[in-house]
């Protein structure tokens, strides 16, 4: 896009260029362009902090049942009480407390699964890009198989066999997501491999491992950070969906997905039970996506993801 913008400037009239901006103006402008990313990062920090500090922040224990005050609506609606700001669920548990605690599961699963998938994806991507056509063919075939699989069903089936648990879910999501890294890492590795400093390293007799990890890998860090950030959002949505179907985190442990699944039963009269956990997922993934996009623009505006 920068190229075409440049093209327009030269086309429209050579004489009417505005004076060069000063260095201070430039950095201010850069920061201004990142305003959404910064706001998103602040929001995300808030969400992470409230998940971490849940035992101190949540007004109630998320598991405490209070059957007398069940299905209470949020405070600003008819019949709402200031005691339960977001209302209560079908057995009278405080929704606000459960939403705060629910973030722990989603964020932990998101980060852990992304660590697994990023590790596998980066290693195989490096191998595919570095070690020539045969390894490349093998890995890319595997990637194509994985990408043409209806992943949601695969995850569901594997979890049905292994049994639903937090660890199983992290493993399944981590293993299923790695092909997304491979294509980008492979392409980048292929182009870096031909650059002079790598050729020079090879001529000096460096080992493959050293070339890959000391010379190629550092050039890929920003790409990896951007993909991984965006993937956390994807994994959070998938995790919520599995929990929503009852195949992920099991009740009564609060997770946004299983709260949404439970609330769905009561949506005829008590829509808030399903609405707020879903809103929490939406706001979190939105913040992560905005931050990821800003990170991409900041680290490398030409990155094509």
């Amino acid at each position: 896009m920068a190229v075409s913008a440049g093209g327009e400037v030269t086309l429209k009239g050579a004489g009417a260029l505005s004076p060069e901006p000063t260095a201070g103006q430039v950095s201010l402008r850069r920061l201004w362009r990142l305003k959404w990313g910064l706001a998103a990062a602040a929001l995300l920090l808030l969400i992470v902090a409230s998940a971490v500090l849940a035992p101190w922040l949540a007004p109630y224990n998320p598991l405490t049942v209070d059957i007398q005050h069940r299905l209470a609506p949020a405070v600003w609606m008819d019949g709402g009480t200031p005691k339960h700001l977001l209302g209560t669920d079908q057995v009278g548990r405080d929704l606000l407390s459960r939403v705060i605690y629910g973030g722990r599961v989603s964020l932990a699963v998101g980060v852990a699964a992304v660590l697994i998938s990023a590790t596998i994806g980066v290693l195989t991507g490096l191998a595919a890009g570095y070690f020539g056509p045969r390894v490349d063919w093998l890995i890319m075939t595997l990637v194509n198989v994985m990408l043409s699989f209806p992943f949601v069903l695969l995850a569901l089936a594997v979890i049905a066999v292994l049994g639903p648990s937090l660890v199983n879910m992290i493993i399944v999501l981590g293993i299923a997501d790695w092909p997304l890294y491979v294509r980008v890492i492979r392409a980048e590795t292929m182009s870096i491999r031909e650059r002079d400093f790598v050729v020079a390293g090879r001529a000096l007799g460096m080992s493959h491992a050293r070339i890959i990890f000391r010379q190629i890998f550092p050039n890929l860090v920003s790409v990896i950070v951007v993909i991984a950030t965006l993937q956390v959002a994807r994994v959070i949505i998938l995790e919520s969906f599995l929990s929503f179907l009852g195949l992920g985190v099991q009740p009564p442990t609060p997770a946004w997905g299983n709260m949404l699944g439970e609330g769905r039963v009561y949506m005829l009269n008590s829509w808030w039970i399903a609405a707020f956990p879903g809103l929490a997922i939406f706001v979190t993934t939105l913040a992560i996506n905005l931050m990821g996009n800003a990170l991409r623009d900041w680290l490398d505006p030409h990155m094509k993801l």
Partner: protein
Amino acid sequence: MKPYVARQLVQLVVVIIGISMLAFAILHVIGDPVLLLLPQNAGKEEYARYHKLLGLDQPVYVQYWRFASRAIQGDFGKSWYTDTPAFRLVLQRMAPTIYLTLAGLVMALLIALPLGILAALRRHSFVDNLCTMIAVAGQAMPIFWLGIMLIIVFAVRLKALPASGYGTWQHFLMPAFTLGAFLAPLTMRLVRSGVIEIMNMEYIKTARAKGLSERIVVIKHAFRNACIPVITVLGLQFGQLLGGAIVTETVFAWPGVATLAVESIRNQDFPVVQCAVVLLALIIVSVNFIVDMIVGLIDPRIRVGA
């Protein structure tokens, strides 16, 4: 064109073999199907009998060969739950899934094409920024939540649309919109960047210089060429679209393959799960293959290059 088709065909066969292996592995490597089949109080003899009955005493490659050679003939075994052939069960549910997917695709295009073109023609305007915001929000939206919110508003509150089920065109509206909202943001961005890129091309200037009206320039010259990347990516995203259809089906109790698969997973009815997974994967692979062919036909650079 011939070597290109041949290369793609080889790739297709290899991917299909890979899919069959993965589907086989779900059941036979990860879990012990006998334990899933028998009641918990079954004795050792029963266990051994079933073990042999299912051919589990044979080496893995023999088992795989048996699975694959039967699967080619459409025999995925009988459902453990209803005792009917799994293939028939899945096939019965295929039509609703395909209709939903197509309806979602149409809905995504209905949203994405006008907005994308408009955003491209009025770059950096209010409309463009609004479209970008919608796209960013849409990409972060968990569609199962969107579906439930739609049900709450349009079925529970307004009582305007049926909350779930299948049959009339009203039943299609909410599921199609939910699925369309899943695919629209990406499509919109592609259309936008495609049209922007092409509006700067020489032949657009030529078309304008010929004195053609702006409408004809945009529709006939720019849009057609902008379609190529859109078709490619939509084809490649078909797997994603089917994945979205799976999610949508479970929210709206749509009687498609995905609902069947989720039911079967709950019942631990693995022949049906295997069959559903393999058939859905085959559809995705075939669509990708067809898209590759079409793109190869439209754009000769691709079939020479890749």
